[in-house]
């Protein structure tokens, strides 16, 4: 297992380097360019002569960097968990109806112009969060047969409920008129205007989801060999599935509530990481978190600095950059890929 371990270290070092350079660039670039050499000094010195730069860095750019990391990390990990849990390479965090539920909640908030605050959350993130979790709960109950939740029915129920909610969401959008632009931005996923507040509010849900997932990663390894095999190896299968579903849903819902539906991260990051470090979920899922966060942070930096002051929805960037990157990977590593032998 020595080979695997040194490979993991290598990937970890690369990811850390990407993360640090990305963070530095993200702080330097923007509608105001700040020389990157000066950034550490400005950050760690409250008495700095560049007070306005310091304000931009701390009030605007730092929270967005952290948001990118947290949201990307949540989506990457949730993707890794769902792909393992559903034993389906096409699975992503949105597959089981989460995106549709969140979208439904968000569009409702926008359509009716509701404006309230619950648990410190504004109406839109709250409804998106609640919509996502409610949908997963309903899907789970629908798929439940005699105390068990077969993975296939969970998947199918999720897809069916998702279609239904998407249709309702589209129906509401038909009646929206001038707010359509906002909905569109939200559906593509964006960090525009988000900051410390959102980060603080969602961190508890993210952390809870993260702990739950981390707790069951060992069992997830056995679950991917089939539920029967997992049971024979001592896994309490149904309990493990519930914990993983709740954990991954919390991660996804907290991400969606902040940033809308950012696609692609949860689908391709787990694939790339599996190709790089192998399928041991104890390492795969945390690496997906690190890689997803780094990827999304880079994406967000591009999204807001390509055409300033215009911000492109970050979902467009992730799809545009991620698609070709993933195809390149797929071609190169076809041999090591899912079920293809050799």
């Amino acid at each position: 297992m020595g080979g695997e371990r040194s490979r993991r270290w290598l990937v970890l070092i690369c990811l850390a380097a990407l993360l640090l350079t990305g963070a530095l660039l993200a702080m330097a670039w923007g509608s105001v360019n700040i020389p990157w050499q000066k950034i550490p000094a400005i950050l760690f010195d409250p008495q700095t002569e560049h007070a306005s730069w310091r304000t931009i860095l701390i009030r605007l750019r730092l929270p967005r960097i952290l948001l990118g990391l947290v949201v990307g990390g949540a989506l990457g990990m949730a993707g890794g968990v769902f792909q393992g849990l559903l034993r389906n390479p096409m699975a992503d965090p949105y597959l089981v109806g989460i995106s549709a539920g969140a979208g439904f909640g968000a569009v409702m908030a926008m359509l009716f112009g509701w404006n309230f605050t619950i648990l410190g959350l504004g109406s839109l993130p709250f409804l998106a969060f609640a919509g996502a979790l409610t949908t997963v709960f309903v899907v789970y109950r629908l798929a439940r047969v005699g105390g068990k939740v077969p993975v296939t029915s969970f998947l199918l129920a999720g897809v069916a409920v998702g279609f239904l909610l998407n249709a309702l969401m589209s129906l509401m959008m038909v009646g929206m008129g001038r707010d359509l632009h906002r909905v569109f931005y939200w559906l593509m996923g964006t960090f525009s205007g988000r900051g410390w507040n959102e980060l603080r509010l969602l961190l508890p849900y993210f952390s809870l989801g993260f702990i739950l997932v981390l707790w069951q990663l060992r069992n997830l390894n056995l679950l991917v060999l089939g539920e029967e095999a997992a049971l024979h190896l001592g896994v309490n299968v149904e309990q493990t599935k519930v914990i993983l579903i709740v954990g991954a849903s919390l991660l996804t819902a907290s991400a969606v509530a902040v940033s809308g539906l950012i696609g692609f991260v949860g689908l391709i990051v787990p694939h790339i990481m599996r190709l790089l470090i192998g399928p041991d979920h104890r390492y795969l899922v945390p690496f997906c978190g690190l890689a997803g966060g780094t990827f999304l942070m880079w994406g967000d930096t591009l999204a807001r600095s390509l055409f300033p002051p215009l911000e492109i929805p970050v979902g467009i960037i992730t799809a545009l950059a991620g698609g070709p990157f993933f195809l390149y990977f797929l071609r190169r590593h076809q041999g090591r890929y899912f079920g293809q032998g050799g």
Binding site: L217, R218, E228, H232, L233, G234
Partner: protein, 420 residues
Amino acid sequence: MELFRLEDVSFAYGEELVLKNIDLTVEEGDFIGILGPNGSGKSTLLKVMSGLLHPDKGRVFLGDREVHRISPGERARIIGVVPQETYLDFPFMLEEVVAMGRYPHLGWWGTLRYKDMEYVEEALATTGLLELRQRSIHQLSGGERQRGIIARALAQNPRVLLLDEPVSNLDIKYQQGIFELLLKLNRQEGLTIILVSHDLNLASQYCQNLVLLDQGQLRAVGSAEEVLTPENIAKVYQVEVDVEKWSPLEKPRINLRPPPEENGSSKKIKPRRIHIVGGGGSAWRLSKRLNAMGHLLSLGAVNEGDTDSEGARELGIECIREVPFHPITEGKLKQTLELMLKADLVVVSEVPFGRGNIGNLKMALEALKKGKEVFVLDGENIANRDFTGGEASELWQEMKKKGARSVNPPELEQILKEGE
């Protein structure tokens, strides 16, 4: 010591009753084969024992506790299971898969300690997979993968191994390899083994005890000799077979009989009573053939321990036996004559005749005189196997004069087929 005890176990998938009132005990150290046709409940029985399925009625004990009351983790430290199918969608390395067998012994993160690595090592070595340990499971052949799954179960360090058709997709080399491995584990480590198999001969050869299931019920339980009888197999599988004792291991072997032809091209053979005079193995091939054709045979008289005496025992043929190395006595000859007279015809095979068994020839002549049809196999000249100083040859000639027909075995079969 008793390991498993099933008390009146029934199980149904929905409305369909798959197991009916099964009572079964498995002793520690046993090597059991569960046999039965498709859909007879073999795999279900295994799943009920492993705790995967909970019986609708009755109880399954593992040791002194009911199996479903034992937590999955503890169960996995006692029972290792090799399921019929394992999903291997993800490209784990072989040694990672085998190391998963240690998980029931590990903490929440699954860190392997030195001791665990030793178990993994040993499991890989036992299954002969050490050199393939770094390979992705997608790069292994079917046999290697199956051995890998067995290695994973061994790494669990269980007391009992349950296997569902462990060799069904493998060629005979791997079939032998896996069964030899199981036998070794059973004999040397005292590992209890319970497996489901479709291959009656493999099960007969390797298993200590067999369980024959028929539509969810136990048809027979016991040694291969007790379970694999033509009657049991005919009842359970609805096929006609011959069971012979395969000499190297003294285990029953099953051979399929060609089904009776149904169109009119060949007449159905009318079973006859045939008495065969044999000895020294001269009657073995003939009696096997005639027995397979469905005729009712008797044999004698021969000495106990004679090859033909053993052959008769194997085929379940009535046989007059004299004590070893003793001339055949008047009493036995009288019984032989009675059998000859009861038979439709008498066949004298190419037996060497000496003072001890010349009486048989006299009895055959007697039967001939009383109007019984007698066939003599004459391939080897009687003079060459006459050790009586001419007496046997004389009797032989006299029998021929009185109408005994000289034939070779194929001719005899043909005559019997034509039903003359």
